[in-house]
Subunit: 251 residues, 2 copies
DNA sequence: AAGTGGTCTAGACCACTTA
DNA sequence: AAGTGGTCTAGACCACTTA
C-alpha cells in the first residue's frame, strides 16, 4: 500500500526501498518544497518496521539536503529557496554580491521552439517536445559579468512558458520550481567570438571561461545552460572535503 | 583509554567521538592505506558501546571513501592507489587515456627552497619550512596536454625530497602517500603568456584553462598546484547527484 | 505538557567470503 | 566452518521545541 514500485527491485533492503519511495515523492513534486513529511512514528506504522529503520532513511535524506529535520513540528521537504549551499553555487547574484558589487540582470532573448536534431540527442528529447530558449545577461557594478544561454525543457517545467523571469533569474527560478537529481558540468577556456565579445564588452579573441551545465530530474533533462564569463577577471572557486556527505559540491 | 581527545568536546555524541577518533587515525597516517581497522566487534568492546553505534560510524567512513568494507576479512583504510573516483579526477593519466591517447610526462624543473612571503601567507607556512617546487609537463599522443606547476610542503611530506617522480607523476604520488582532508579549487580562463605558450605549443595570447588546487591534511597545506590546459581543445567534466554522499566530487 | 527527532542498547538472523 | 559486515527489531531515555 505504501510503495508503488513496479520494477521488481527485489534485492533492495527495506531502508533502501523506503528511501527510494520518499525520494520519488520529492523529486516528482508530489511532495513539494515545504511539505511536511510523515513523522518517524507515522512512517514506522506505514512501513510496518522499527523506528531505527525509518530514522536511518530520513537522516540520510537530511544529509543529502532533500529534507529539513525539525523537532516537535516534524521534518519538511527542503525549501529550495532557502540559503542552501547548492543555491549559493548556482546563483550568480550570490557570486556578484560576494564581490561587493551591485547586481542586476536582464533577459535579452526569449523563444519557444522545437528542439533541433542535435538537441534531441543531447537532451534525450523527442521531436514533439518544446523548448524555451533564454538569453540572459548578468551585471556586476553595472558591467557585464556573465552571459547565460539556456534551454528549458517545457515538458518538465510547463510553468516556465508563462514566467517572465523579471523578478528572479532563470537559474534560481528553476531551483525553486524543480527538484533535481543530477547535474553534469563541462568547463573550458575559449576565445570570445563576435557575439560574445559584444555582450560581455571584451575584445574579440579575449579568453573567456565557459561553464556548461545540464541538469536532470529523474531521467529527464530539465535544463541545459551555457555560462560565459570574461576569463581574465573572473574565477570560479570551490572547496570540499572528502569526509562530509554534503558540502558545496565541487562547483 | 580508547580516546585521546584533549579538547573538551563534551557536546559530541558517542558516535561522533568515535568517528573523529578513527578519522584522526587515518588522516594523520597512524593508520596508513590498507591498514586493517578493528572489527565492529572489537570497536564495540573498545568503546564499550553497542554494535549499532560503531556500525553507524564505519558505514559513514565507508560512504565518505575513507575505509573499504569487506566481509570476513574486515574493513581496511581505503588504499588510495585504487581506482577511486577521487583518483580519476586527480590523475591526468586517466584524463588522457580516457581520450584514447598515449600518455607520458616529464619533470621539467625541480627545486627545494624556502617559501616567499606571499607563499607563507597563501600556504599558512612559517619561513623555516621548506618547499619542493616542481614543473611537470603531461603529454597526450606526444603533444603537450597540461603544464603542472606544483609546490609541496616538505614538513608534511618529507619523503618527497628524495623521490624522483620518474615512475609516478607528483599528483598520484601524493595521493598514495598523503591522506588529505580538504581541497580548494579556483578555475579561470587566461591568455597564454610567453612561457606557457612555449611549454604548451600554443600561440601567445591563446585561451588557456587554469585550474589551481590547494590541498590540506588536517590544518596543514600539503600541496598547491597550478594546471594549465590549452583551452580550446580541452575541457573538464564532472557529474554529481545531490542525494549521494560521495561521488566524483564536483570537479 | 506533548510531540518530535537524536541517540543508544542488546540482542537477532542472515549473506557473504575466505580459511 | 567461522569471522565479518548488513540489516533489522523493540524498546528506552533524553533534548529540543512549540502549543
Amino acid at each position: 500500500m505504501a510503495t508503488m514500485n513496479i520494477r521488481p527491485e527485489v534485492s533492495l533492503s527495506l531502508h533502501q526501498r523506503i528511501l527510494k519511495d520518499i525520494e520519488d515523492n520529492i523529486l516528482t513534486g508530489r511532495w513539494p518544497p515545504g511539505y511536511k513529511i510523515p513523522s518517524e512514528q507515522a512512517l514506522t506504522e506505514q512501513y510496518a518496521c522499527s523506528r531505527m529503520t525509518v530514522n536511518k532513511v530520513v537522516t540520510q535524506l537530511a544529509r543529502a539536503g532533500l529534507v529539513l529535520r525539525r523537532r516537535k513540528t516534524g521534518s519538511i521537504v527542503m525549501p529550495q529557496n532557502s540559503q542552501s549551499a547548492i543555491l549559493e553555487i548556482y546563483d550568480i547574484r550570490h557570486e556578484v554580491e560576494a564581490l561587493g558589487l551591485d547586481y542586476h540582470f536582464d533577459i535579452q532573448d526569449r523563444t519557444v521552439r522545437s528542439p533541433t536534431k542535435a538537441e534531441q540527442d543531447a537532451l534525450s528529447l523527442s521531436s514533439r517536445r518544446r523548448l524555451l530558449q533564454l538569453s540572459c545577461l548578468h551585471y556586476a557594478g553595472g558591467e557585464p559579468f556573465c552571459l547565460e544561454e539556456r534551454l528549458i525543457n517545457l515538458s518538465v517545467v510547463p510553468q516556465a512558458e508563462s514566467e517572465s523571469f523579471r523578478e528572479l533569474a532563470p537559474g534560481p527560478w528553476l531551483l525553486q520550481h524543480v527538484p533535481w537529481n543530477a547535474a553534469e558540468h563541462r568547463i573550458a577556456a575559449e576565445a570570445a567570438d563576435d557575439a560574445t565579445s559584444k555582450y560581455l564588452s571584451v575584445p574579440k579573441g579575449a579568453p573567456v571561461l565557459l561553464v556548461e551545465r545540464q541538469t536532470w530530474r529523474l531521467d529527464e533533462t530539465v535544463t541545459r545552460v551555457r555560462l560565459t564569463y570574461p576569463g581574465a577577471q573572473h574565477a570560479l572557486t570551490a572547496r570540499f572535503t572528502p569526509t562530509q556527505s554534503l558540502n558545496p559540491l565541487g562547483m
